[in-house]
């Protein structure tokens, strides 16, 4: 089936595997992250180039053309994407990787069904596993992409019988995998692929928009494991080690992220299935609120001793991070103490807001993580919430029925004054109303974040 791998190639694979480990190590420290990523790229390139020199491959020209096409698509996508759309792109890249793994496994299965091949039960199981998990990661990622890109509703999608359909698909996949172990069949393989696609869709549909990042991370780990299994099928160490590293670290990262939101992974995946009580109204409320003009808020900010800015995804959508930085610069020059409070899941992915503000060249020292700044809200004169909602919603502390209940939040409600800059009264990504909007301490400034910040900026300048 495949030519014996020479020792020197095995050594190159070993080097690539070590580079992957160093890459992950580097990526988890701010100082070496970029070098780490580069090492990963070198390792992957090395392993892929070497294959052309030892294996007796056909179709080399076609393969090289396919690689060129994929490279152009990947680079263009990666260069063009807005920083705000990063989570979608990561989901998409993950999905195509999963799809590739499933196709590779199907092709191997085709080989195994030929007479004279006895791959062994272990390899057959690994093949079935790769087909199901790879195609599940693919379809799950596509649904994730659609939710984040707002091609479909970001709220949990539920229909009667969904849990049953999900359970049955899973059961069928396990049954057919067992059947594959007893004897490979191409038809069963294709059905497994379809089941995988179905499982991926059914898994992601009931997940609410705010929780989608956790799912991306989980699907990422899944693709890793599928790649690891394909490494076993192909008797290739670098696939096995690379895939396993991603599978293990991805699973761990998923748990870390869920922890940052104060939730369990099971609650995120299946919470919506337990009953409708977790779903908010999702509509604009007509309760009275207090809104103000830019001049009123400029006075509030201009004469405050201490201001904390809470940026959210709305800021990024409006591309207003640069205007915000200007406003903060002017306030600082007037002698006001200003800091940014960054919630771990601000934006659409953990750490996303840090990327966005770094892009606007906000000095790193002004960015405060939640645990460091939460004690300071009590001594703060004004909290300026720009395009954020769920991360300051006291419902996370007070109403056990809310989907975000238990999520650690920024204690904006403890400040003397709160200013919300919002486009409308629509609830945040989690789809629930924010009591803080109706608080007597709160003033609202409606409008596009960039617009409002621009007006606010000139109002503060003319004080």
């Amino acid at each position: 089936m495949i030519t014996e791998t020479p020792v020197w190639v095995q050594l190159v694979y070993l080097a690539a595997a070590v580079l992957f480990i160093l890459a992950l190590k580097g990526l988890s420290s701010p100082k070496y992250a970029r070098v780490g990523n580069l090492m990963g790229a070198v390792g992957a390139t090395l392993a892929c180039v070497v294959v052309f020199f030892y294996a007796d491959l056909d179709n080399v020209v076609a393969i090289l053309v396919a690689i060129a096409v994929g490279s152009v698509a990947g680079v263009v996508g990666a260069q063009r994407v807005q920083m705000t759309q990063m989570p979608q792109l990561v989901a998409l890249f993950n999905g195509v990787g999963g799809g590739a793994a499933a196709l590779v496994a199907l092709l191997e299965l085709a080989d195994m069904t030929e007479p004279g091949h006895d791959p062994g039960g272990f390899a057959l199981f690994a093949t079935a596993f790769t087909v199901v998990v790879g195609s599940g990661a693919f379809s799950g990622s596509v649904v994730t992409f659609a939710k984040l890109q707002e091609l479909m509703t970001s709220r949990p999608v539920l229909f009667p019988g969904l849990p049953v359909a999900f359970g049955l698909s899973l059961l069928a996949a396990v049954g057919l995998s067992a059947l594959t172990v007893t004897g490979p069949s191409m038809l069963v393989g294709v059905v497994l692929g379809v089941l995988g696609l179905l499982i991926g869709v059914l898994l992601v549909l009931p997940v609410g928009g705010a929780d989608v990042p956790i799912v991306i991370s989980l699907l990422n780990a899944g693709t890793g494991l599928a790649v690891a299994a394909s490494g076993y099928i192909l008797a290739n160490t670098v696939l096995l080690v690379g895939g396993t590293l991603v599978g293990a670290s991805g699973t761990f990262l998923t748990l870390l992220m869920a922890g940052a939101m104060g939730r369990s992974v099971a609650n995120i995946l299946f919470g919506a299935l337990k009953g409708g009580s977790t779903l908010g109204a999702g509509e604009a409320s007509d309760r009275p609120v207090r809104s103000g003009g830019p001049e009123d808020i400029a006075i509030l900010l201009g004469y405050a001793g201490k201001v904390i800015v809470v940026p959210g995804y709305g800021l990024a959508v409006a591309q207003a991070q640069h205007t915000l930085r200007e406003l903060v610069d002017v306030l600082t020059e007037r002698g006001t103490q200003v800091a940014y409070a960054i919630h771990p899941v601000a934006g659409r992915m953990p750490g996303h807001m840090n990327v966005l503000l770094a892009e606007a060249q906000v000095p790193y020292e002004q960015l405060k993580e939640m645990d460091d700044i939460n004690g300071e809200f009590k001594q703060t004169d004004v909290v300026l919430v720009v395009g954020a909602n769920d991360v300051v919603n006291p419902a996370a502390k007070t109403s056990p029925g809310a989907p975000i209940y238990g999520m650690p939040i920024l204690n904006a409600d403890e400040a003397s004054q709160i200013v919300f800059m919002k486009r409308s009264m629509r609830p945040g990504f989690a789809g629930i109303e924010n009591e803080l909007l109706f608080d007597p301490k709160t003033t609202l400034l409606f409008g596009d974040a960039k617009d409002s910040l621009g007006k606010l900026l000139s109002a503060v300048k003319s004080l």
Partner: protein, 114 residues
């Protein structure tokens, strides 16, 4: 693949290494780390090249080439986009228009100049 137990050993050890190396990551880096790990599983490209190189029929060749394209998008795009993200972290030179705090006060205190 004569020795499944050898492969199982490599697998189990890799699991521990994978968890260990990222156990101290700060939440600031969650997004780039996820993206970088995502690029690493693009190594499935190697598998796609192998199966396509040994394709026995036109159908297999076509499916293989699709896998090669998809895997390349995953790998190349993944590394490029991660680098783009990380570039923004490293470019934080303290030259932003005088408003930058000269010396940050003691750790934990507010970052802005008083």
């Amino acid at each position: 693949m004569s020795e499944p137990i050898v492969w199982l050993t490599i697998f189990v050890l890799s699991v521990f290494v994978g968890i260990e190396v990222i156990s101290k990551v700060s939440s600031t880096l969650h997004t780039p780390l996820m993206s970088g790990a995502n690029a690493i599983h693009g190594i499935i490209l190697l598998g796609a090249i192998l199966v396509t190189g040994y394709a026995g029929s036109t159908l297999q060749l076509v499916v293989g080439l699709v896998a090669v394209v998809l895997a390349t998008v995953n790998m190349v795009g993944g590394f490029v986009v991660t680098d783009r993200m990380l570039q923004m972290f490293t470019r934080k030179k303290p030259t932003t228009r005088g408003a930058t705090p000269r010396v940050p006060p003691a750790a934990g205190a507010d970052g802005g100049p008083a």
